[in-house]
Amino acid sequence: MIKVTHVVKRFQDKEVLTDVNFTLEENGIYGLIGANGVGKSTLLRLINGIYAPDTGTITFGKEAIFDCSKAKEKMFFIPDEVYFYPNYTLYDMALFYDAIYPSFNLSKVKEMADELKLSMEEKIEHLSKGQKRQCSLILALASRCAYYFFDETFDGIDPVIRKVIKKWMIDLMVEEKSTFLIASHNLRELEDLCDHLAILYNGKILFEKETDDLKSQLFKVQIHFKKDLEKDDFASFDLLSYQKIGSIITLILRGEETEVRKKLEKMNPDLLDFIPLTLEEIFIYEMEALGYGVVE
């Protein structure tokens, strides 16, 4: 388990992270969402012990990660701008990581490169942007680590390759109980893969929830009554938004769907429609409920 507790990080006089609290449990896929420049990469660098926090702690088990090579052996970080040594081939890079990570599996590199039709002998700098990302992903997944951190890594990877990589990640989760943290500004990229989603905003983690819970606890309801009802008539509901256009009322409600439906039906509406929300809409409403503006 990796635990981030009350972490603050400043650069010169700019406070990027004001108070971050976050826990990564073993064997999950976490999505970290936030607008550009909100501090996602800074947070990833802090967790991976590249920066030291100004205040607060980041621990792997009981150990502080910064300066702890035992912890770092179990973590692999792909930064937003991947780096390879000049003139190195995929094979050279694999040898390099093999020397660093005790659990590195050299034969896996060959296996994965073959599947993606990447050459082990070609200089990485001659490859395209997407292929470079594929190389970094192969090297990461061959490390057989416990924790992986991907910073916008799926950006620029085509859907076919993405599917293959997803399969490898699933294998690692089953075989090694691995954990992934994927930072992205693109919610759709994370939706199908992550079991937890966290949003970083204004230097803090605004909320961290299971993706399924997010989806099943918030709905949009369109409702119409013969008599004229006002917002106060819905005071007993957990209401996030109320809108009345003409005689049709649109509500955003939180709660258990069957319960909410029963309660609304008792009010005798002549129209009652539950409209599912997209994850994007859910995020916007959740953010508004917390008093913040737009997500992206």
């Binding site: 064997n27 999950g28 896929i29 599917k163 997803k166 399969k167 699933i170 294998d171 989760m173 089953v174 199908d192 893969l193 992550c194 079991d195 993706t211 399924d212 989806k215 099943s216 002549d270 599912p276 929300l277 997209t278």
Partner: protein
């Protein structure tokens, strides 16, 4: 045989409940039989390209409802007694029909009228 389910990614129903509902449906319809083996968590997760924890959650729900049995080393199997699933599926569909009739009643035709019209349709 690898029995699989289909996921509708556009559907806002959580993926785990889509899996639960489909397996229940397939059991009720006799596509899946008692003692049939389900794909392992990894197989299904890989096939659908979804998080293994999601499949695990679906299987746990099915097991708690007695629809499947998990034998630690051999995998997951459909329970021998599925009469409950069948009963529930029928109940669920009747409820759906009832909701539809209620909607029709709002349009001004009563239940008897609906049933009569249904007879005529046959």
């Amino acid at each position: 045989m690898l029995h699989t389910v289909m996921i509708d990614y556009q559907n806002k129903t959580p993926i785990y409940s889509q899996i639960v509902e489909q397996i229940k449906g397939h059991v009720a319809l006799g596509i899946l039989h008692p003692k049939d083996q389900l794909p392992s968590i990894r197989e299904l997760a890989s096939f659908l390209g979804i998080n293994p924890n999601t499949v695990k959650k679906a299987y746990e729900i099915l097991e708690s409802e007695g629809i499947i049995r998990s034998l630690s080393t051999k995998g997951c199997f459909i329970s021998e007694d599925i009469s409950k699933v069948l009963k529930e599926e029928i109940k669920r569909r009747i409820k759906k029909l009832d909701d539809e009739i209620k909607e029709l009643e709002k349009l001004g035709i009563n239940r008897q009228e609906v049933l009569k019209r249904l007879e005529e349709e046959k």
